[in-house]
C-alpha cells in the first residue's frame, strides 16, 4: 500500500529505517522539528539542527526514493526559557525558503505554562506572517486535555484558518475538541503515551474520516516507523474498504500537505 508518513523524527532513526519504510510503500515523509531528548545549549545548536532537517535528511531519504519534507520551530519543551526561544525563532526565517520546508511545527504546549503559551503564539504569528501551514503538538498524558483547549483557544484568538492547521496527537478525549473547531486532527500511533492501532481505528469509526490522518511520530523513544502501515493492515482486519484506508493514510495527508506549494509527490 502506498502511504504518507506525515510525522516522523528521522534524525533519530537509522538509514535502515528509511529502507524499511520505502519497502512498505512510503511515498513521502514529513519531519517536524522536535526535542532532541535534552535541551540544546545554543542557538547554533538549532542552526545545525535546521541544516540537518533541510539538507542532510532530504538527501538520506532521497537514496530510497522518499521525498522528505520538514516543519521548523523550537519545540515547547525548550520554550520555557522565553528569551532563548526567541533567539532561536529569529533564525527560522532564514530557512523558510528551503525547498522542503512546509511550515511551522511542531509547535504547541508541554506543561501548559505561560511562557510556553507565549512562544506558541509567537510561532503562530510567524506562520501567519509568511502564510504557512501549522503543525501542532499537544501535551502528553494528564496535560493533553487542558493543553488542547488552550491551543484551540489561542488559534481562534489569532484568527488562524483551521483548514491550514493540524493539531496532532489527539486521543478519544481531544479529537472532538479539535475537529469540531474545524481543524485537522492527527492521531499518533505510539506505545504507552498515545494511540494503539485499534484505538486509532475506533476514533475514525467514532469521529469520521474527514480532516484526519495518522502518523508514527517515530523518534529516539520506543516507537515504530512502520506504525502507519500496520494500522492500515488492522483496518483491513476491521473490514474497512481499501478506498477508506487509502483516504486516511494517503489522500488525507496529501490534501492537507498540498496546501504548501512545495509539497509535490508522484502518486
Amino acid at each position: 500500500m502506498n502511504y504518507i508518513e506525515p510525522h516522523a523524527h528521522m534524525v533519530s532513526r537509522t538509514t535502515a529505517d528509511y529502507e524499511t519504510i520505502a519497502q512498505a510503500g512510503c511515498v513521502a515523509l514529513c519531519e517536524p522539528a522536535f526535542w532532541a531528548g535534552y535541551d540544546r545549549a545554543s542557538v547554533q545548536g538549532f542552526y545545525d539542527y535546521y541544516r540537518q532537517l533541510t539538507e542532510y535528511e532530504p538527501a538520506r531519504a532521497k537514496k530510497f526514493g522518499i521525498p522528505h519534507f520538514t516543519w521548523l520551530c523550537i519545540n515547547p519543551k525548550e520554550a520555557e526559557d522565553a528569551v532563548f526561544a526567541r533567539e532561536v525563532m529569529s533564525i527560522i526565517p532564514d530557512f523558510l525558503d528551503k525547498p522542503n520546508v512546509l511550515g511551522i511545527g511542531e509547535i504547541g504546549l508541554n506543561k501548559n505554562t505561560k511562557n510556553e503559551l507565549a512562544i506558541f503564539e509567537e510561532h503562530v504569528e510567524i506562520a501567519l506572517k509568511y502564510e504557512l501551514p501549522i503543525l501542532i503538538h499537544t501535551p502528553h498524558l494528564e496535560d493533553k486535555l487542558k493543553g488542547t483547549r488552550l491551543i484551540v483557544d489561542a488559534l481562534k484568538n489569532a484568527g488562524v484558518d483551521p483548514a491550514t492547521t493540524i493539531v496532532d496527537h489527539v486521543e478519544e478525549h481531544t479529537a472532538g475538541i479539535v475537529l469540531d473547531a474545524g481543524f485537522w486532527a492527527g492521531m499518533t500511533l505510539y506505545p504507552e503515551s498515545k494511540c494503539t492501532p485499534a484505538r486509532a481505528i475506533d476514533i475514525l469509526e467514532t469521529f469520521g474520516n474527514e480532516r484526519i490522518w495518522m502518523n508514527s511520530a517515530c523518534d529516539w523513544g520506543i516507537s515504530d516507523p512502520l506504525a502507519v502501515i500496520k494500522c492500515a493492515l488492522e483496518m483491513r482486519k476491521r473490514k474497512h474498504p481499501q478506498a477508506l484506508i487509502d483516504k486516511v493514510i494517503l489522500e488525507n495527508p496529501k490534501e492537507f500537505l498540498s496546501q504548501s506549494p512545495k509539497f509535490v509527490i508522484e502518486s
Partner: protein, 91 residues
C-alpha cells in the same frame, strides 16, 4: 463493519491478558511496602470511570478525562518536563 462477535474474535484475548495484567499490577501495589502516591487513587478512580462513563461519553474518553488535569489557566512555570500520567491533585 465487523459484528460484535467478530470484534470479540479479534480483540478478546488481547483485552483479557491486559485485564489480568491490570489486576496483577494492583495486587503488586497492595503486596509491597511503603505508601503509594497520587497515581494509585487516580488509577482506581479511572477504573470506576471506565465502568460508569459519564453520559454521552465513551469509556475510553471517561478514563482519559479522569486521568486529566481539569484546570484551565496556564501555570506560572514548568518544574518538570515530563508527565506522570495522572494529575498530581488526584489524592
Amino acid at each position: 463493519m465487523p459484528t460484535k462477535k467478530e470484534i470479540l474474535d479479534l480483540y478478546f484475548m488481547d483485552a483479557r491478558y491486559k485485564l489480568i495484567d491490570i489486576a496483577a499490577f494492583l495486587d503488586r501495589v497492595d503486596r509491597h511496602d511503603g505508601d503509594a502516591d497520587f497515581r494509585h487513587p487516580a488509577f482506581l478512580k479511572a477504573m470506576e470511570a471506565m465502568q460508569s462513563p459519564a453520559e454521552g461519553k465513551s469509556r475510553a474518553q471517561s478514563v482519559l478525562e479522569s486521568l486529566s488535569d481539569h484546570s484551565d489557566e496556564p501555570v506560572e512555570a514548568a518544574t518538570i518536563q515530563f508527565a506522570f500520567g495522572a494529575p498530581t491533585d488526584s489524592q
